[in-house]
């Protein structure tokens, strides 16, 4: 507890009730309706139109476009927030990135303001600018179409565009990473610019340059141009704040404008000297990264570590109080909520309710392996507890050998009080996993969470952790239907791996499944590598690269493999349903011979109508992942290991390996709606289980469930996992409840689990929230990695959260699902 000096780590004396500033800001932010912001699209497009492709490298041209936008970006101050800088020109904005996925809303320009799911306000004038000016320019130029053109509409792209096999997010962005903001605070942009200039000069000094040296030269030029853009934006903010201060009559507001003017005149150009300067510099850097890259899971990292030196210095010299620190952290949390994704209405079915998922990580150990929890960790936990906002995606690292029980139980208490956040991460296993995948021990210890649950050595590892989202159930169906899927009809999608009705042993079916899996993974990986190559040609990322360890030293952009570590992430949808279906096939067809494979196929095609006896057996007797059944244990562990083997056998376009993970956002609901009945008894068109979580109601006791998940070969899960648990009742005021809660997490971590997140809510409460959304306007839930407001989720996703197994925190026993609502369960007829 050396770094913890607070007398009360709960910081109970600091509430929202007596904090006019934070309460007002928070209430306005939560109530705000999102608006489409075309500011960035307008500037970037204008720059590209006015400066056609010519002699200069693509990286320099893009850096100039980003600089053009940042230098002209309007400095806006919407409210009394203590931090200057906004992601968009709207109070709560969804920026348009036409070169990535921004064109998918073209068909909705007239309707997006009034659409049923998560509408976004868009003025007619802006809609017409998108329709007539911005979108037409990018029709042949965005990443997807450039890839199609370069590779002549390749087969993997056609498979991707069926949507039901895998998603390739590289079509949409360079994202899902943790920049090195520490460098901005310590060196200032001037320091980074000096480094770039020095390197550029050194390359120029070589005389005749090789191709590689020319690329390096272009990279340093581009990095300089992009970083200058950030300085220009900060300077605009400073000037505007000073102007507003001169006109402001309210002394409090005037002082705030004056302070912001002074802060932005200093940072991020020069090193931060105070906590306020550090927080604002970090925020401006985050805004700038989004000027270049799409707003998806760009994660600020270990903020309690990065900002701690500034906090401690100010506290020690008496220029900062805990109350002021809470205000500044609160303002940062709200700034991280100032933007949202722009997605078409249909995509809400797959990613419904997601914010931009900027993950903040706290706690854990330092690079020397010692307890890193400090006073600022508790300040951030308190703000999280008070705010209960969707973003930032809060993650608490816990090292059961180094961190204190007080810290563990305080995290548990915050989860209970917010009903859902933060998520818990296991330091012991996470560090080990990263180490086994190439990180040095010090770098592994300094990991942060990306977006949902993925792990990165912060600021050093470019992981693109959401490159592939692969639907495992689609692969299972390809094996069940000899290369076809019910949703895609009679067309042979992959290859005929044999009619399972002719199989004489489970091994034959497993072999067919594995071959189909290898085929789909190959296609997904091939496509991701094609996209990566196209990024290298048309849209490198010099600004983000300048905020990483590696590129400045090597003269290589991130997209060319400049980071110290390189990987691409592939996550999986429908893990539990796939494992349970393999279990069911093995047990029902080949061990107990309850039915033939042909009979099972008939039952699946009929969605179990007329096959009720078999269905009941599959639901109640077949082995289930989440229990100690040896068939289930073997199949679950084997699948994890096999996926790891396949992915690690493939290299990405940057020379890194692919890393499998198990988190599903809301895809398990969306993809579930498009899948047929499964051998585990799940009916057609029903949701899958989320992430790595066992299927609904499969595990009768939480201990068995945690052992099963913890027992998976965790060194084969470098891409992270999302385990969702539900406790209906935990009394935050009862130390016994909190201790039990914390102890269960610790036992799970000791058994090997990487991650766990909770919803502290009962079946009845969630059913009521679905029925009466207005009664629960701010009900925050963990989905499968990220947080969302329950009311924003689609119905299928709401059902999945409702039907997740609930356990009594004291007994660990499963609670009975309400009899009158059993038709919501995925294995019950509707």
């Amino acid at each position: 507890m050396g770094l913890v000096t607070l007398k009360d780590i709960r910081l109970k004396e600091y509430g929202l009730g007596d904090r006019e500033l934070l309460k007002g800001l928070r209430d306005s932010a939560v109530r705000a309706k999102p608006e489409v912001c075309i500011e960035r699209a307008r500037y970037i497009t204008r720059y590209y139109k006015d400066n056609p492709e010519g002699g200069e490298p693509a990286i320099v041209r893009y850096a100039k476009a980003v600089n053009h936008f940042l230098s002209n970006k309007e400095p806006l101050f919407f409210d009394g927030n203590l931090l200057a800088g906004t992601t968009t020109s709207k109070y709560f904005g969804a920026p348009v990135y036409p070169e990535f996925t921004g064109m998918t809303i073209w068909p909705e320009l007239d309707t997006i303001s009034a659409r049923d799911k998560n509408p976004l306000k868009l003025s007619e004038e802006d809609a017409q600018m998108l329709n007539l000016d911005i979108y037409p320019y990018w029709m042949e130029m965005n990443v997807l179409e450039k890839t199609r053109e370069k590779y002549k509409n390749p087969a993997p792209m056609k498979l991707f565009e069926r949507i039901v096999f895998f998603l390739a997010s590289k079509a949409g962005c360079i994202s899902h990473t943790v920049p090195c903001y520490r460098a901005v605070l310590e060196k200032g942009l001037d320091g980074l610019l000096a480094e770039a200039s020095k390197k550029e000069k050194a390359v120029r000094g070589k005389g005749t340059l090789s191709n590689e040296e020319q690329s390096s030269l272009a990279f340093y030029q581009a990095a300089r141009i992009a970083l200058e853009g950030i300085k220009n934006y900060a300077w605009s903010l400073s000037k505007k704040a000073a102007e507003l201060a001169s006109k402001e009559r309210d002394p409090g507001k005037k002082a705030n404008y004056e302070a912001m003017a002074a802060v932005c005149a200093r940072v991020p150009a020069r090193p931060a000297r105070s906590f306020r300067e550090a927080v604002n510099a970090l925020w401006i850097a985050q805004v700038a990264v989004h000027a270049e890259n799409i707003n998806m899971a760009i994660s600020p990292g270990r903020l309690d570590q990065i900002l701690y030196p500034y906090y401690k210095k100010d506290i020690d010299n008496g220029t900062l109080t805990v109350k002021e620190a809470i205000d500044l952290v609160g303002c940062l949390w709200l700034k991280l909520n100032d933007n949202t994704n722009l997605v078409p209405e249909t995509a809400e079915e797959l990613f419904g309710g997601a914010g931009t998922v900027p993950a903040v990580t706290v706690g854990g150990v330092d690079v020397n392996g010692k307890d890193a929890v400090n006073d600022l960790t508790y300040v951030m936990l308190r703000v999280t507890e008070l705010f209960k906002t969707r973003d930032p995606s809060m993650n608490a690292r816990y090292h059961y050998e180094e961190n204190s029980r007080e810290y563990r139980d305080r995290v548990a208490e915050v989860i209970v009080n917010t009903k859902s956040v933060p998520a818990f991460h296991n330091d012991v296993v996470d560090i080990d996993v990263l180490g086994k995948h190439g990180a040095t021990l010090e770098h592994a210890r300094d990991y942060a969470v990306i977006g949902c649950v993925e792990l990165a050595s912060a600021g050093r590892s470019y992981d693109a952790s959401s490159s592939i989202m692969l639907n495992l159930v689609s692969v299972l169906e390809l094996a069940l239907y000899n290369g076809r899927r019910p949703v895609t009809g009679d067309e042979v999608i992959s290859f005929e791996s044999g009619d399972p009705a002719s199989f004489t042993g489970f091994e034959m079916f497993r072999d067919a499944f594995q071959k189909q899996l290898a085929w789909v993974i190959d296609k997904a990986v091939d496509l991701n590598n094609m996209f990566g190559t196209v990024y290298q040609e048309i849209l490198p990322t010099p600004l983000l690269s300048a905020l990483f360890e590696g590129p400045m030293e090597s003269g290589k952009d991130l997209i060319f493999g400049g980071a110290l570590y390189n990987a691409s992430g592939a996550t999986h949808i429908g893990f539990a349903d796939t494992v349970d279906s393999l279990n069911a096939v093995e047990k029902a067809v080949f061990i107990d011979k309850i039915c033939t494979f042909a009979e099972l196929q008939q039952a699946l095609k009929a969605d179990f109508k007329g096959h009720e006896k078999l269905h009941a057996w599959l639901v109640n007797k077949a082995p289930k992942y989440g229990t100690a059944d040896p068939v289930a244990v073997r199949n679950s562990q084997a699948l994890v290991a096999y996926l790891h083997q396949l992915y690690q056998g493939r290299e990405n376009y940057r020379g890194g390996k692919y890393r499998p993970g198990f988190w599903s956002m809301t895809n398990h609901a969306g993809q579930g709606k498009l899948s047929g009945a499964l051998p585990n008894g799940r009916m057609a068109s029903r949701v899958f289980a989320s992430g790595i979580t066992p299927a609904s109601q499969a595990a009768a006791e939480v201990d068995a469930c945690l052992k099963a998940v913890g027992g998976l070969p965790n060194d084969c899960i470098p891409g992270g996992e999302a385990l969702n648990l539900k406790y209906p009742r935990v009394d935050a005021g009862d130390p016994e409840d909190i201790k039990k809660f914390g102890s269960a997490v610790e036992a799970y971590f000791q058994s090997g689990g990487l991650h766990v997140q909770f919803n502290i809510m009962s079946y009845d409460m969630l059913i009521d929230a679905k029925k009466n959304p207005d009664k629960y306007p701010e009900l925050l839930v963990r989905v499968s990695g990220y947080s969302a407001y329950f009311k924003d989720l689609n119905d299928a996703m709401k059902d999945e959260i409702i039907t997740r197994t609930a356990y009594d925190v004291r007994t660990g026993k499963r609670e009975e699902f309400p009899e009158e609502h059993r038709d919501m369960l995925p294995f019950e007829p509707a």
Binding site: W106, P107, T111, N142, E145, N153, P344, E345, T346, G670
Partner: protein
Amino acid sequence: MLEKIWHFMLFRFMRARKALEKIADLLGPAHFTEDMLLLLLDGMGLMFLISRRYRKNIEGFEGKYVFRSVDGSFAVSATFRNGKMKVKRGELDGPNITVNFKNSHALMNFLFSPKPDVLGAMLNQDVVLDGNLNYLYKFAYMANHVRLKGPELLEG
């Protein structure tokens, strides 16, 4: 007044859908679907002729579209060039995008949906696309726009 006429036409058109589908069953769905698609695309082409505001959408735009069934039982093409839209029966060479409908029913569903949804149709496997998706996004915008803003466009 124009707005009322427009809404009346839309209402009648939607109401007629079931009757049209019955006729389709009698005449043979593929031919009927092809005729319906031609009629709708011609209607769109007519709007481009009479509305300057609507025509702005295709000024300087060149694009070739093929709408067909997976089994090839119907096919209609549309070409945009020189600020005009031309529609013809059958396929054409070098389309920017080919929209393959699963069957006549899928096309009718798409055409008469109160909210035609490209991605939704892809997700439900009602259409399989081959080519540049942005061309379809643009087309879907133009189709939705004329449906929603018809009277305003006529005034313009």
